[in-house]
Amino acid sequence: MTDVYNINTSPALTFAKLGMNGDRISVNTSLIKKVNVEQYIFGNGITDTDDIDEALPGGAAGQDIDRLLSTESRIMTVKGNAGITISFSGSGVIRRVLKVARGVEAEVVEVVKGKAPDIALNSTSYILEKNARLKLIRIQMLDKDTLYVDDLRAKLHEDSYLEVVRLDLGSKRSYIASKVSLEGKNSEYKAHGDYLLNGSQRLDINMIAEHIAPDTVSDMRCDGVLLDSASKIFRGVLDFKSGCKGAKGAENEDVILLSEDVDNQSLPIILCGEEDVEGNHGASVGKISDEIIYYLMTRGFDEEAAVRLIIRSKFNNITSQLKNSDLRDVINRQIDGVLS
């Protein structure tokens, strides 16, 4: 049975005629099977645990998508570094809750791959207890026939720190919904997402940083490259709730357009109900500077090689953070394949 679901609706609507307030997807729910998705965990840093005793954070994908999350969550505790591979072999949904224990410092690398033409829905909630520090690296390399919904939620307790690094290369149409609630005093959230889209790929992002407690800090950055007839919309929201005194938030975007047929939409929102805060947004959209290309050409590169070098260097910021050289090589080959 195919139903239509609202997805990634912005928390602050704007001119309806722009068509940027959110999107809708059609999903054949009968095709979604839990067995179509496997999760492989590497290392000893993550163990299964009992039910959790606190409310889970809400998501940015929206209530319609919550209806698709009918499956039970797998609940785990993060106590150290770990790797996770999530592999789709057909339309499927995976739902997980990972609690980073008090005082733990960990790095989790997640790779999402496989094929799911109807929908691949990956819903993850991270809860960071007091003083926990987590670096989450998520690499998405799904087959280019896939419709992907990435629903990432996080709740940050006092003095915790979450860093999310993500690279989106695959799928035909991706929805990235990310909502981080800074509920604990002095909690901090940093996000850096990169994407490389070609062909008719479409990326729809709805990233929300919700400042609830005092002295919280967020810094969201989203950079990417659009080729061919690819399109992307970035909705970034800094939401300063009343009472989050001393909070600071920033969101930045840098988009390189490499084709006449691309479409780049941005809706960077700042909602402010507290006087004593600082919120900043900056965006830069355009082609690669002629001066930079000219400089590289005077150093012996032809124009195509110069462009490739510049793009590769952008993604190096993320690939260089990967300790697994095999994974790094796979990603680099995929980037080179798109740019060649």
């Binding site: 722009l18 780049n264 402010c272 006087e275 919120g279 947004h281 959209v285």
Partner: protein, 471 residues
């Protein structure tokens, strides 16, 4: 003075909050609501040509079938069945202040309009409720071929074809419900035509005053600046405060021809019972330049986003705006631009101050079409929160379809910086003076774009009273 806060007063509306009773002996007032019978009576009253009457009725039909906007501040409190569409004094339009009825003349004298005309304006139009009551253009400007009158008079004095060609072609009745409503009940406003190559050195000004309680003002402004011409048009508006809702749903259509320039300055100071749902749009041809300067201080609810279509190659637009939201106000302001021609450029600079529970929203839309090669856009919006019971939000949208566009955007929300205050105090200033200087500086980039008398006026409006508090 409390909690060591800097006290910054709300915008002082007292100067504008006076009224005169409107008796049925002197005034014509339509019944409340918007029906076909009312539209036909307004059309008959105005002796509209047939095409205009038919257009009004078509707009009413569109209005009846359109939904309210699904975004923006709530306007549920606005009961359109309790708004009078048309109120006018029984006198005709005059071109001599002495002939204007006493109560209306006193109103405009209190607002300083005749004095401003004598001192610094090339022409003045004054609208009271639904109709223009006074229009005058300096003789030397008229001799240059400049036409400045109301739209109704323009249709009856040889400009009907020009009006018909342009009327509601930029803002169409299907744009939104209040554009349709405007098309049905529009009345008054200004018609300006500046011939080819004519540069008008001093500004023209129209002032709109809505005196009647529970009424709407639906003036239509149409300005055509022909090739190579140059003009500055100033629009001011105010109303006394009532405890019932008033509605302003005007339309402004601006046509800037090849290599022409138009500066359009607005100081909006409606009373706090006003729903200001105004629509402004400009079409700019090759090499033309549009400059918007906007100060929004009044209204209960505002939806105000002047839109510019940069159709011609090398056309340009600047928008400089400030919004001050005080108690009980929800001012949703900003601007829209569409880049359609090659090498077009736009610069958007917006400032917002909110206090005492006021809500300030900066909302913008930048669209760069695929054909708009090598176009540039820069958006900057700064918001200053003066307490924690107010709100300051920014929702800027960008849709870039041209791969060689160059788009930059910056937004900043914050309060008065302690470091800046400390720095100025270390240079010998008192805390009060330091904070006053910072707030003045925040608004300075906008106030310096205003005509001098309006810059002074704005400084009066944002009357800054500093008082330190020693704990």
């Amino acid at each position: 003075m409390a909690d060591g806060k800097t006290l910054i007063t709300d915008v002082d509306h007292k100067r504008y909050d006076f009224r005169y009773a409107e008796s049925s002996d002197e005034y014509i007032r339509e019944e409340d609501g918007f029906t076909e019978e009312i539209i036909r009576r307004i059309s008959e009253e105005k002796d509209d040509p047939e095409w205009m009457r038919d257009f009004r009725l078509k707009c009413l039909d569109i209005y009846n079938h359109m939904d309210m906007p699904c975004w923006g501040p709530s306007i549920q409190e606005l009961d359109l069945n309790r708004i009078a569409s048309y109120v006018r004094h029984k006198t005709d339009m005059k071109n001599n202040w002495d002939d204007v009825p006493d109560d209306i003349k006193e109103t405009f004298e209190k607002l300083g309009i005749p004095q401003a005309e004598r001192l610094s304006l090339a022409g003045v139009g004054a609208q009271y409720d639904s109709e223009i009551v006074y229009h005058n253009l300096k003789e030397e400007v008229a001799k240059m071929g400049v036409v400045y009158t109301d739209v109704e008079t323009a249709m009856k004095t040889g400009y009907e074809d020009m009006v018909r060609e342009h009327f509601m072609k930029l803002i169409t009745p299907t744009d939104h419900k209040f554009a349709a409503l405007h098309g049905a009940v529009w009345s008054g406003g200004s018609f300006v035509y500046v011939p080819k190559g004519v540069k008008v050195d001093i500004p023209l000004q129209s002032y709109f005053r809505l005196n009647a309680a529970g009424a709407g003002q639906f003036e239509h402004t149409m300005i055509i600046v022909d090739e190579g011409a140059d003009v500055h048009f100033i629009e001011g508006c105010s109303a006394p405060k009532y405890n019932v809702a008033n509605l302003h749903a005007g339309c402004v259509e601006l046509f800037v021809r090849k290599n022409a320039r138009l500066r359009y300055s607005t100081i909006e100071n409606w009373s706090k019972n006003m729903f200001n749902l105004n629509t402004k749009r400009a079409l700019i041809e090759e090499g033309g330049k549009m400059e918007w300067v906007s100060g929004s201080f009044g209204s209960k609810i505002s939806y105000l986003y002047p839109m510019t279509i940069l159709k011609g190659n090398d056309s340009k637009m600047t928008y400089t705006g400030i919004t001050f939201s005080g108690e009980g106000q929800n001012l949703d302001t900003g601007c829209k631009v569409v880049h359609a021609g090659c090498r077009t450029s736009s610069v958007i600079t917006a400032k917002s101050i909110s206090k005492s529970g006021g809500i300030g929203m900066f909302r913008s839309s930048v669209v760069i079409e695929k054909a708009a090669k090598e176009s540039k856009c820069s958006v900057s919006c700064d918001s200053l929160m003066l307490d924690s019971i107010s709100r300051a939000d920014t929702v800027p949208a960008m849709d870039i379809k041209a791969f060689d566009a160059d788009v930059g955007h910056e937004a900043k929300i914050g309060r008065i910086s302690d470091e800046a205050v400390f720095y100025l105090m270390s240079r010998g200033m008192s805390e009060e003076d330091a904070k006053a200087l910072i707030v003045s500086g925040f608004a300075d980039s906008v106030s310096k774009e205003l005509p001098l008398e309006y810059a002074v006026e704005m400084n009066n409006l944002i009357k800054i009273e500093m008082s330190g508090h020693k704990a």
